[in-house]
Amino acid sequence: MKKFLLSFIIVCMAWGLAAQDAPSWKQQLPRHDVYLGIGDPLIAGVLTGRFEFFSKCGGLFTKCSDDEYIPDWFALDSYSKGLIATPTISIGYQYRLAKWFWLGGTFSYTGFYEAKHERISNLKCSSYNSHLISILPEARFSWLNKEKVTMYSGFGLGLAIYTDDTHYSDKFYSPKPPTWDETFCGLAIHLTAVGIHVGKKWYGFAELGFGYKGIIQAGFGYNFNSKKKSNQ
């Protein structure tokens, strides 16, 4: 609640400042910004439990003892060819309210795909996929505003939707074991510590931060002004 209140105050201040700003920046700097970015899936992987760095048993820092591990000899003997994690793909839009302040939102997707293969036949026997979508209203504070270079920080707070999808092949599982697939919604957050745009209309960007969009994010975008604004 406090965060929302803080965001609201910042927006009001920005509107006020925007009203006071001289019109010059509106002619020099673009108002609209759309972008496509990709980030690492590390944070999303940890949050969804698909990457286990600190698991109680078998993680980086602890190992299962023989007593804890009970193999199931009668379970299908399968192996994973690897967990495929897509980068966190983000599409967003930002509108420049003031020279230094932007508001917008980002839609992000991270997918995790894992197939298991029966060891002897090497045929696919099951798959376990997860999808994480986040919708983040975001505020951006640009603290360096040059014609070709913009540097900024920002934060976003929004909604995350996570869903599992497990599939067992009829050929190998009869009857099929129960699945524990679930879908849930939660709070999504992303903090951008430092970001840089380089370019004029078309630009490339890179960001360093922490949250649902990953730790490092890069991509490209397009800046433009509406016709009405550009004629001002």
Binding site: Y79, I120, F220
Partner: protein
């Protein structure tokens, strides 16, 4: 510039792969199951049977130093008590763990027939304590008898919750008896072990070619062969064959696939 950005982005869009497992050897589940049998049979011989030979020496010697040596080294957490009428008991604290009826004969004498009864279901394994590896409750019994320079170890299924064995063991040690750390022996016979593993699992075994353990530090048996059939309710039986080639390697047949394993290889997926 635009083209370069697009190319870099597309390259970065290629998925990241992690957590990959090797397919590894195809018989690794067979090896896993075999290793459990190996461990069970080895523990049964070395933890259940061989301590009885230590006890036999303790019973039949007049040398007090030797008795103390046996107590200290082989039964350090236990006390041996003579109850009379050729019956001996082994205590752990105040708990009677085992009762051994020798029927008045040394285990090393032809015609001997000992009965070992487990009196306590809850045993902590301190050192070479005789335990019934595959049993779960008290009252289970093991018979050890000698004839023709070999011993027959018998466990009856009715006395042991379905677990049974008829194993012939013969010493390869110089003295011709299974004593102390000289655990060199041959093994033949058959039986069934029981495991608790997400339900009750029965494992029939049949030693089709006499197994031998020739060196103190060998990892597996060094020759011989065994056939295993592992059973669980509502599942198909899992047949496995193991053939011991030498002290470092053995061959596993599982799902009609035969592979050779070295002793240092682990079944990586488990």
């Amino acid at each position: 510039m635009k083209k370069n950005i697009l190319i870099v982005t597309l390259i970065a869009l290629i998925c990241i792969g992690c957590g990959r497992e090797e397919r590894g050897k195809l018989t690794q589940k067979g090896k896993e199951i075999h290793d459990s049998w190996y461990k069970a049979s080895k523990m049964m011989i070395e933890n259940d049977v061989i301590p009885m030979f230590h006890l036999d020496v303790w019973i039949n010697t007049d040398n007090e130093d030797l008795r103390r040596h046996i107590e200290d080294r082989y039964f350090p957490y236990y006390r041996i008590r003579e109850e009379g009428n050729d019956v001996f008991t082994i205590y752990n604290g105040a708990n009677k763990m085992f009762t051994i009826n020798t029927y008045g004969k040394s285990l090393r004498a032809d015609g001997s027939n000992w009965l070992v009864t487990k009196n306590n279901a809850y045993i902590e394994n301190h050192g070479d304590l005789p335990i019934f590896y595959n049993s779960y409750s008290e009252g289970e019994k093991m018979h050890i008898s000698k004839s023709n320079d070999q011993w027959l170890i018998q466990m009856d299924s009715t006395e042991n919750n379905g677990c049974y064995c008829n194993l012939y063991i013969k010493s390869l040690a110089n003295e011709g008896v299974l004593l102390f750390s000289e655990k060199y022996y041959t093994l033949s016979g058959n039986g069934m072990f029981i495991y608790s593993q997400n339900g009750l699992i029965k494992q029939k075994f049949d030693i089709t070619k006499t197994i031998s353990r020739k060196e103190k530090y060998e990892f597996y048996f060094s020759e011989g062969a065994v056939e295993l059939e592992t059973q669980k309710a509502n599942y198909e039986n899992i047949p496995i064959k193991a053939e011991y080639l030498d002290k470092n390697s053995f061959r596993i047949t599982y799902q009609n696939i035969t592979e050779t394993w070295e002793y240092w290889e682990s079944s990586s997926s488990y």
